[in-house]
């Protein structure tokens, strides 16, 4: 179990500029050698997907994870889709699995086709969760939605349902082709009272069930604490309360409608998810959007990062009773959102990213206005950050609270600020830069203490880095159009990978023979950060749960889909 080191926070690592590490460049060759190149069929669409794409036989599925794990690769995403025949038609109840591994921006997508089952039994495949515990929930989701078994007989693999509560039956799989969108619902879907939580027995161990409706104005989900005295021994999350069927709803949509839906996967990441979906569709269509459009997307996404960090910094402080910061940062956030409303016609910039570009341009005059506002905000945030760090009673509550070691962060594949506060420097903007980050290098702060204080500080630093980046971007906005016509491609797929404010988002999109969406899978960073929270709160006192939770701030909607 992780133990928090007592460190002097006033001297914590300053902004580290992370540089490309050449050693990681060869990891994919090494992986290929380890798996055995005879087992791998290289796919011709690596350029289009902007990552290596292999097919392997289903019986090599386990060795792929084993060897990738041995090379310290991160398990970035995993999802299923229907198999297609030669004419691109869906083969009923035949599935393919995809998994994405990465080391420092070098991604490899591995695909396999599940073998036919002779009888009516469910298709089976090896689980990756023994090597990558963070993969567990993704596999359980796939299992609920497609009816695919991961290591059915292995009792050490968690094969409990994840996304399914009581809205559909155990032998129904909503993402299978034959399952109707409207399903077979009952008049009143019963509460999910029978979920098999893990139990801890012992003298004076008690359980605290919390949710689905929480005390504050936040999303619903269930937390089951096992505690002894004040200390949390174990937290188990039970989510999927706001499962809205997003993956199923995407099927049959046109590109513009998918962008709208993607913008509502997680409202606080509307730009990032909208952009990731558009990036995936544009990669499928093999088009490059105008430079100015990319620059503006970058601006929108960075504005979203700043807005969310400002809100969270205040909220983290508020959770330990420091209302001052809550008010001050709340004020900065509100001003920021009002500017978004004025320039981009929406306080969260929803529906600004569309296939082929963006909706609103920015005038030179407004770019100048934003620039001066940004300079003032850097000043304000730095002043406030000094006040926070000077406040001994605040720091006393946050330093060493909610510790996540780098080792645990890596084991669960932590992303974004959660990873970067624990010494894991993953950032797509840095390691696999996409426009506009290609031309405008970014400062990427990194801290190592891994506690709530670090997750607070890293956000302050990310706000400043993001603001500096925006300033650079605004000074060199490329001329030209802000969008181009987007024609839906047919019978093809694409991948979007970018750094939202919570961390890396991976989105997979497949088009059918009419250019309609046949598969949409958005992987929010929260898939991996939620399990990290379960580790973070161990050995902390129950009253510190809110501040630990806020410092991670996972999205419920983003994983419930």
């Amino acid at each position: 179990m992780d133990k928090a080191p007592i460190t002097d926070h006033t001297n914590s690592a300053a902004t580290n500029v992370v540089t490309q590490n050449d050693a990681s460049d060869n990891w994919i060759d090494a992986l290929k050698n380890q798996i055995g190149s005879g087992r791998i069929t290289e796919q011709p669409d690596s350029d289009k997907l902007a990552c290596i794409h292999w097919k392997v036989a289903a019986n090599s599925w386990e060795i792929v994870a084993k060897e990738a794990h041995a090379l310290n690769a991160r398990w970035a995403a995993g999802w299923a889709d229907h198999q297609l025949d030669h004419s691109g038609e869906v083969v009923i109840d035949q599935f393919s699995l995809f998994v994405l591994f990465v080391i420092r921006g070098r991604y490899v997508l591995v695909e396999t086709q599940l073998e036919n089952t002779q009888d009516d039994s469910l298709p089976e495949i090896a689980s990756h969760s023994a090597f990558y515990p963070g993969a567990s929930r993704c596999e359980r989701h796939t299992s609920d939605m497609f009816g695919i078994c991961f290591n059915k007989l292995d009792k050490s693999i968690d094969s409990r349902r994840w996304t399914r509560h009581q809205a559909w039956k155990e032998d129904e799989y909503p993402l299978r082709h034959g399952f109707p969108l409207e399903g077979h619902p009952r008049h009143r879907t019963p509460a999910d009272g029978e979920y098999p939580f893990e139990r801890i027995d012992g003298i004076s161990v008690y359980e605290i069930p919390v949710g689905p409706i929480h005390a504050g104005v936040i999303e619903p989900g269930h937390f089951r604490f096992s505690a002894a005295g004040e200390d949390i021994i174990q937290l188990e999350q039970h989510l999927a309360y706001v499962h809205k069927g997003i993956e199923k709803l995407a099927v049959g949509r046109d590109p513009a409608a998918l962008a709208r839906l993607a913008g509502r996967v997680s409202g606080d990441s509307t730009v990032a998810h909208g952009w990731a979906a558009c990036q995936a569709m544009e990669s499928a269509a093999e088009i490059e959007i105008p430079e100015r459009a990319s620059a503006l997307r970058g601006l929108l996404c960075e504005r979203e990062r700043v807005a969310n960090h400002l809100g969270d910094i205040g909220a983290i402080c508020n959770d330990v009773g420091f209302a001052f910061a809550h008010i001050q940062f709340g004020r900065l956030r509100e001003l920021w959102q009002r500017r978004s409303q004025q320039l981009f016609k929406h306080r969260f910039m929803m529906d600004n990213v569309i296939p082929g570009g963006v909706v609103h341009d920015i005038s030179e005059e407004n770019a100048t206005l934003l620039n001066s506002e940004i300079s003032a905000l850097i000043e304000h945030v730095s002043q406030l950050a000094n006040i926070l760090e000077d406040n001994a009673s605040l720091m006393d509550r946050l330093v060493t609270t909610g510790y996540l070691s780098e080792q645990t962060a890596r084991r669960f594949g932590a992303l974004g600020y959660v990873a970067r506060a624990s010494g894991m420097d993953d950032d797509v903007r840095l390691h696999k830069p996409y426009p506009p980050y290609q031309d405008n290098p970014l400062n990427c702060p990194l801290l190592e203490q891994g506690d709530v204080a670090s997750r607070l500080k890293i956000r302050v630093q990310e706000v400043v880095a993001s603001l500096q980046f925006q300033r650079k971007l605004l000074r060199n906005l490329p001329e030209g159009p802000i969008s181009m016509a987007f024609e839906a491609p047919v019978n093809t797929h694409g991948l979007g990978i970018l750094e939202g404010w919570r961390g890396e988002i991976v989105t997979y999109v497949r088009f059918d023979h009419e250019g309609k969406i046949a598969r949409f899978y958005p992987r929010d960073p929260s898939w991996f950060n939620w399990p990290c929270l379960q580790q973070i709160v161990k050995n902390n006192i129950v009253p510190d749960f809110p501040v630990c939770n806020k410092s991670v701030n996972g999205s419920y909607s983003g994983v419930d889909l």
Partner: protein, 169 residues
């Protein structure tokens, strides 16, 4: 000690900028709400907010009502932790089937007479998600709604306008 004085000094300076920036329409609405509450609710309104299947965009705006620009509490409206303490339920999002029972239980726990407010496009008409195997769609599909506040998400001012509608005769 000096630091604290310094902090208080700086704090003061920062907050002063707020007044001229606050929203006239919001202020006006707020005072209307306040006078309606004084007349009909003995001065205050307790709201329990329930997300029954939102994308979390609506929650961000409900939370914004507490920031220093809006500071909803000054008009006598406050958010409470339990439906048993609530005069009104503010429901955001579609009603996901997985939340249907929890929402209905929250409604059953709210003392009568209760006001049900559906906030946001999803809660009003299903929004992008509609009715499906996973979603009951609009709140009206599962219980009677008194006031609907459209918008995706509704702005804090929209929300206050809706609250005014809910408390006026």
């Amino acid at each position: 000690m000096l630091r604290i004085v310094n902090t208080i000094f700086r704090t003061g300076t920062l907050s002063e900028e707020i007044a001229p920036l606050s929203d006239d329409e919001f202020e006006a609405l707020g005072f209307e709400v306040k006078s309606a509450l004084d007349k009909r609710f003995d001065g205050s309104l307790a709201i329990r907010s329930v997300d029954s299947g939102s994308c979390n965009g609506c929650e961000l705006e409900v939370n914004a009502l507490a920031n220093p620009f809006y500071d909803l509490a000054r008009f006598g409206v406050h958010m409470v932790a339990s439906p048993r303490h609530a005069d009104a339920l503010l429901v955001t999002g579609v009603v996901s089937r997985h939340m249907q029972s929890a929402l209905l239980r929250a409604v059953e726990s709210t003392p009568k007479p209760k006001i049900i407010i559906a906030a946001g496009e999803c809660a009003c008409n299903g929004g992008e998600f509609g009715v499906s195997y996973a979603s009951c769609g609009a709140v009206q599909n599962v219980l009677d709604v008194d006031v609907s506040i459209p918008g995706c998400p509704p702005t804090p001012t929209d929300l206050l306008r809706g609250i005014l509608l809910a408390v006026s005769d």
